[in-house]
């Protein structure tokens, strides 16, 4: 069994079925790209994984443990196995770049100490650790800046550092560059590329096929709320099977 298994995930908004059977699997250290046309449920999938939405059916299994099945809510500690970087950053405007990273880290660490979980800080203070993560995304000089004083690309890098600092085992990105100027996407993609590591899985929803092809170990193509195709990038991009995927790919090519 793979590290992350999603089986027949179902999600309805009211009477509309948005996800009607998503299945995929992912190993530690792998990167999964999720592609598909607008409105096919890519964001919804990430929201379900991150426990922002209750699910209406199916299973989510992490490390052999079923953490979310048939709409049952799971405990808070399970949520932190996942991290999510939002399309529009959602930094806290009242805090500096450093504090945006330090505060969640500090609060998480406090809770971990109480429950006896492993420390996030390895002997340093939350502030020092936050500073290291800021440096990791190349923003050590911006620690005092407020979100309103940062460019879109810088905001997204802070948001990535903030998510990363909690050491999620599966880090999700929802179109991390789609709110950015083309000139700023490069810096963010560079950071994401550098995050590929053996002990961390990543799920990236993206419309940038070139990036998906390059960074992914697996690709899931969503259509009509289902995983229409799932496989290695060479299969998905090299020999697409379904008509839907073929026409989607040729459409994306026209855009590029």
């Amino acid at each position: 069994m793979a590290y992350l298994e999603v089986k027949d995930l179902v999600k309805n908004y009211g009477k509309t079925r948005v996800l009607g059977g998503i299945s995929l699997s992912l190993e530690r250290g792998e990167v999964l790209s999720v592609i598909g046309s607008s409105g096919e449920g890519k964001t919804t999938l990430l929201r379900c994984l991150n426990n922002l939405e209750p699910i209406d059916g199916g299973k989510i299994i992490v490390g052999g443990e079923e953490i979310y099945s048939d709409g049952k809510r799971r405990a808070l500690k399970e949520r932190l196995k996942f991290g999510l970087v939002f399309q529009n950053f959602n930094l806290f405007p009242q805090y500096s770049a450093l504090e945006n990273i330090r505060l969640p880290l500090f609060l998480s660490e406090k809770r971990r100490l109480k429950t006896g979980a492993e420390s996030l800080l390895s002997g340093k203070t939350a502030e020092e650790t936050a500073r290291e993560y800021l440096a990791l995304v190349g923003l050590e000089s911006k620690e005092k800046s407020f979100p309103s004083e940062l460019s879109g690309g810088q905001k997204q890098r802070v948001a990535i550092a903030r998510a990363l600092a909690l050491k999620p085992e599966i880090l999700c990105f929802d179109e991390p560059t789609s709110a950015l100027d083309p000139a700023l996407t490069g810096e963010v993609l560079k950071v994401i590329r550098s995050l590929k590591r053996t002990d961390r899985a990543m799920i990236i929803v993206t419309h940038q096929m070139g990036f998906a092809k390059e960074i992914s170990d697996k690709v899931a193509f969503l259509a009509d709320g289902k995983t229409e195709e799932f496989g290695a990038p060479s299969e998905i991009f090299g020999s697409p099977q379904s008509e839907k995927l073929k026409s989607f790919l040729s459409g994306e090519k026209d855009l590029e």
Binding site: N51, R79, L80, N90, Q94, L107, P147
Partner: protein
């Protein structure tokens, strides 16, 4: 009597006005937040109850509410007001003002809280914040920033509303000024009172602009 003599002889009235003002603020702001939570409560009956409370407080004159607060022990429980002790008048004034202003503050807070960005709640949730942490660390500072101008407005109104305590016989500044004016047959005591009210309002406006500067982030 010149203006400074008059100001001096109004000093006890000024003190009462300042006390009514400060105590009302101290009670009505937290109470307003609590009422706001009640109004936003997911349990329908609770939310309706607070909605009713707010609508009554905003829909009837403050002066009338002060009368009700003052005479309540007698008319509701048959306790003669003499038995309520010396400070009952003052307590009734503070209670009346606080309950009234809490309703206004609650509506201002509610506006600020419901207009908060959903993305902020979600970011806090995926970062593992508890509900209390989300509210106090993330949402509330943004609400504060958004509602500061409206709250300041309300506080300035409160400065002037303190004179309504006159109606149930609390000897605050306006009462003192009126007494002095009829004794001296002069308008000067009114002018002196006006100057003090105005100075207090300026002080509030100044404090509000300081707070806004402190909350310099943009939401």
């Amino acid at each position: 009597m010149n203006l400074s003599d008059i100001l001096w002889s109004l000093r006890y009235g000024v003190l009462y006005t300042a006390e009514i003002f400060a105590l009302t603020l101290a009670f009505s702001l937290p109470l307003g937040l609590a009422v706001c939570f009640g109004r936003l409560c997911r349990l329908k009956p609770v939310s309706l109850l607070f909605r009713f409370y707010i609508s009554v407080m905003r829909g009837t004159p403050l002066m009338l509410q002060l009368f009700v607060a003052y005479f309540l022990p007698y008319y509701a429980f048959g306790i003669p007001l003499k038995r309520m002790g010396e400070s009952w008048l003052f307590i009734a004034v503070i209670a009346g003002f606080s309950l009234n202003y809490a309703a206004y503050f609650a509506e201002i807070f509610r506006g600020g809280i419901t207009s908060a960005d959903k993305g902020q709640h979600e970011a806090a949730a995926v970062l593992g914040f508890t509900r209390a942490q989300t509210f106090f660390r993330v949402i509330f500072p943004q609400v504060l920033k958004r509602v500061t101008p409206a709250i300041a407005n309300e506080i300035i109104t409160l400065v002037k509303d303190t004179s309504l305590a006159f109606a149930i016989g609390q000897a605050e500044m306006f009462t003192a000024a009126k007494r002095l004016a009829s004794k001296e047959v002069s308008m000067l005591p009114y002018l002196a009172a006006a100057i003090v009210y105005y100075a207090l309002c300026l002080l509030v406006a100044f404090a509000a602009s300081r707070v806004e500067k402190r909350l310099s982030f943009s939401v």
